[in-house]
Amino acid sequence: MKHLIARLEPVIWALFGGGFFVGCLLMPAFIFMLCIAAPLGWLPEGALSYERAHALAANPIGRLALFVLIVLPFWNGANHLRHFVIDLRGIRSDGVVAPACYAAALVVTGIAAVAVGKL
């Protein structure tokens, strides 16, 4: 397992880097609009009505954007968590933490693909 992870390290790192990019560039705006402004009713009437939101999301660009917005930050978080744990506990725990992190990221990737497909 250790060996496999070591071999995949370049891909993981690429996803991790991509996660930073997407996360930093897009997440703040989405979180603000969708998770703070919308529920508090700061947005104009109908801006995020189900119909409009669905239409936006279901269009191919929307689907792609959502997929990327879910998957890349998760890979980023998974890899970063692994290194954070190494920083706190040393490499001893890595044999468990690394597979767990990346397995979770794989699962999330799968679910996200299905979810985005169902839109």
Partner: protein, 147 residues
């Protein structure tokens, strides 16, 4: 005394010829000085994980129909959700600052294949501009102004 590092840190593969005192971690690690901001940066991974899952829920709700969607927005109004999202927003902005303005530019190789790298000094402002543009675009779309 600072905490101990891994006992094998910086040791040769065959032990030295005399007994050594074990390596210790840098004294301020992890909680003080510049390490603190590094560790906070590390801890922000939680927001990446959770917010990613949150968006998965958003997609799920959109797929499930209008009731689910309204239900979700109602849940988001819960103080716990709001508190989390405000914290996450702060976390992402903090991460973005470090990533865009400290780390990103200098990690670009002088050339990738035939492509030379733009001057390092222009990258952070460029990233800043991209961030403003992307944020503005998303604001407009979700505000309903566009398309």
């Amino acid at each position: 005394m600072a905490r101990l590092a891994d006992p094998r840190a910086m040791s040769p593969s065959r032990p030295g010829r005399t007994r050594t005192a074990p390596p210790v971690m840098p004294p301020l690690f992890p909680a003080r000085g510049r390490y603190r901001s590094y560790m906070l940066f590390g801890a922000c991974c939680v927001f990446f994980l959770l917010s990613s899952l949150l968006f998965l829920r958003v997609v799920d709700a959109l797929a499930a129909g209008p009731e689910a969607w309204d239900d979700l927005l109602r849940q988001f109004r819960h103080p716990l959700y709001l508190a989390y999202n405000v914290a996450a927003l702060a976390g992402f902005v903090f991460t973005a600052r470090r990533f865009f303005f400290q780390l990103f530019a200098k990690s670009q190789p002088p050339r990738i294949g035939p492509l030379p790298r733009p001057p390092l000094a222009v990258l952070p402002p460029l990233l800043g501009a991209a961030w403003v543009a992307a944020t503005a675009l998303i604001f407009c779309i979700l505000w309903g102004a566009f398309p």
